[in-house]
């Protein structure tokens, strides 16, 4: 049962330079049944993803085309990235840009957290690809908003598979239903 559980669990990468906020976001995510990796900087996050250098092709031997967030072909399967905005060195915004510029990871949903409510900052992040912007302190109600973005990744992948198999569109099983988790699709790995 243990193996099945880790295969079907979403994996979230969390970045925050504050230890307390890391503990908090980790607990919030684990309470919501996500697997969590928490790091304290943008550069550690990139390292974890395998994006060290400027040219990521140098870093990767195989040119595996990733079209979905839940890509089990990757050494590191990350389904969502949630990052603090204000960090020394690389800000959350810098990290967002790097991820969106990466061919392997641009489709992973990114969420930004900040203690400051600055509309221009929020808009810039959203315009540059962030899915959500949470004001700190982050609450359970915020974390509940993550699920649709994670389910979208699964749905996209299944649409690709379904299209190659058959074209009968009678049963709309691909529509993102946020109320019912479809475990049979999650287990297709």
């Amino acid at each position: 049962m243990g193996n099945m559980a880790t295969q079907t669990q979403f994996h979230v990468l969390a970045i925050d330079d504050s230890l307390i906020d890391r503990k908090l976001i980790e607990r919030l995510l684990k309470t919501s049944s996500y697997q969590v990796t928490a790091v304290d900087s943008g550069s550690k996050a990139l390292e974890f993803l395998g994006l060290n250098g400027e040219n990521e092709d140098e870093e990767r031997n195989s040119s595996v085309e990733s079209v979905s967030a839940a890509d089990e072909d990757h050494q590191v399967g990350v389904n969502l990235i949630i990052t603090d905005y204000c960090m020394p060195g690389m800000t959350g915004y810098d990290l967002l840009r790097k991820i969106k510029q990466s061919s392997s990871f641009k489709d992973i949903p990114v969420v930004i957290m900040s203690s400051e409510n600055i509309p221009s900052r929020i808009n810039r992040c959203l315009e540059d690809g962030a899915e959500e912007f949470f004001l700190k302190p982050v609450k359970l109600s915020d974390v509940n908003k993550l699920r649709p973005h994670l389910m979208k990744g699964i749905t996209t992948k299944n649409e690709m598979q379904s299209n190659t198999n058959k074209r009968k569109g009678s049963e709309e099983i691909q529509s993102p239903d946020r109320t019912r988790p479809r475990y049979n699709e999650l287990e297709v790995v």
């Binding site: 230890l19 307390i20 906020d21 908090l24 684990k30 309470t31 609450k139 359970l140």
Partner: protein
């Protein structure tokens, strides 16, 4: 009899919490922390609060040594410490401490050394109150668990 003690202790605990909320010492973020504590993470609140104490005391020492320095002029550095203090206080629901930090930051932004010194005094005072009250809360919670545990071996 022990069951009654547990009930009485719970009532005292709730009264203390209500007092702390009423005084603005804690806000609803503290309740969020409590909600995140369960069987899989039974000491979550005290773990986080202990990290907060540790970090806060380091920040207070840094702030004091900055201001005690006659040559002091690095208000940017002070601002960084204060931002961290504001963030962590906000994350655990330490409302009054957070508000004093914000006022402190304003004085720092204005390079107002006297204002900063006053704010630091007030901050140390508020932090002291918070720490004492949180210790009281944890002690009562421990006592309540002990009292409930003896009578009801299976805790909810």
């Amino acid at each position: 009899m022990l069951g009654l003690d547990a009930d009485r202790l719970r009532a005292d605990l709730n009264r203390l919490l209500a007092f702390l909320f009423h005084q603005g010492i804690l806000d609803e973020q503290y309740l969020q922390l409590q909600q995140l504590q369960d069987e899989s993470s039974p000491n979550f609140v005290s773990e986080v609060v202990n990290i907060y104490f540790h970090e806060s005391e380091k920040l207070l020492r840094n702030l004091r040594s900055l201001l005690m320095d006659r040559e002091f002029s690095d208000y940017d550095k002070m601002g960084i410490h204060l931002n961290q203090f504001i963030g962590s206080s906000s994350s655990i629901g330490a409302k009054r401490v957070r508000n004093v930090c914000v006022a402190f930051r304003t004085a720092s932004d204005q390079n107002n050394r006297a204002g900063c010194l006053r704010a630091l005094e007030l901050l140390e005072h508020e932090y002291c109150i918070l720490k004492n009250k949180l210790h009281e809360l944890f002690q009562m919670e421990q006592q309540r668990l002990l009292a409930a545990g003896v009578r009801y071996p299976m805790l909810n």
